[in-house]
Symmetry: C2
Amino acid sequence: MNEQQRARRPGGRSARVGAQVHQAVTDLISERGYGRFTVGDVADRAGVADSSIYRRWGSLETLLTDVALTRLNARSPMPDTGSLAGDLRTYAAQVAREITGPDGPAVLHLAVALSSSGLQGRRAGTDLRAERTRQLQSMLDHARDRGEPVPDALDVLDHVLAPMYIRVLFGLVPLTPDYIDGLVDRLLGDTEA
Amino acid sequence: MNEQQRARRPGGRSARVGAQVHQAVTDLISERGYGRFTVGDVADRAGVADSSIYRRWGSLETLLTDVALTRLNARSPMPDTGSLAGDLRTYAAQVAREITGPDGPAVLHLAVALSSSGLQGRRAGTDLRAERTRQLQSMLDHARDRGEPVPDALDVLDHVLAPMYIRVLFGLVPLTPDYIDGLVDRLLGDTEA
């Protein structure tokens, strides 16, 4: 078995090391800020050798990209409540829970940093946003099929997701249920008008 | 003359070094991404000794905070066109020009990173946002004095600034004049309703 196969085997030592290293990265981002630590710091925190990290991820950039994608892809499935207002409220509340959770701000900083990092990070960021847009679009398409008026996916980004992201990035929390529902209602009010 | 006095003297060698070091930081953020360079890299790029940077700023964190605040405070004065729609359109276009300019994304990443960095950075970020909110509030107060319906300053953040910030951070550019005016008109339409 080569290193690559070992890294992919579910469960076992390799999966444990992977989880420890990922957690070390999110802890270090929370404590010190993005970009303020080295592979050596991650290794110390995770209790593994530097060489294990370099062998598996190759560089700090690849590791940071892997953590961002794993965390961001781990999101819950898109809701299907029978109405667009219900779907969007549930979806927005889900996103709010994720970005205000213990590792949320760290993961959000990581996602934002992807687009200012090297080519690999930018491509990963673009792929991730394409996948998110696809999911959101399918929710909007279902609503259109039911005959509801629907906003563009980019309007949802601009008026529901962007305000929540910026408030968390700027530390303007908590995001209350009233605030989140208000963002959705305002968007849908504009869509009907 | 001690180091501090020299650093503050306008013009002359110290000002030139300061400008070179600041430019080196924004260049490195644009090319490598935030947090992917050291004081040594900045010194090489600016053509100064590492010791000059440590003497003047003390640490990379202090330097990054100084660059972010200098760039963000250098913004143009708030517009006064006689109507809130005119003021907000002018203001939003100004912000869009700044964040999509050559160093704009780098400065925006720096501003976002402030809030995930150490206490000094967080305090600087909070002070900066308080000053921005004060400026914006004074624009809104003038409109209210003229008898116009006005949104909250936080609504301007949520529905005009946040969408532009997130689009630039995610690389969804350009921000067209129609798009920017549309954000303002939508906000004011919601405010009147």
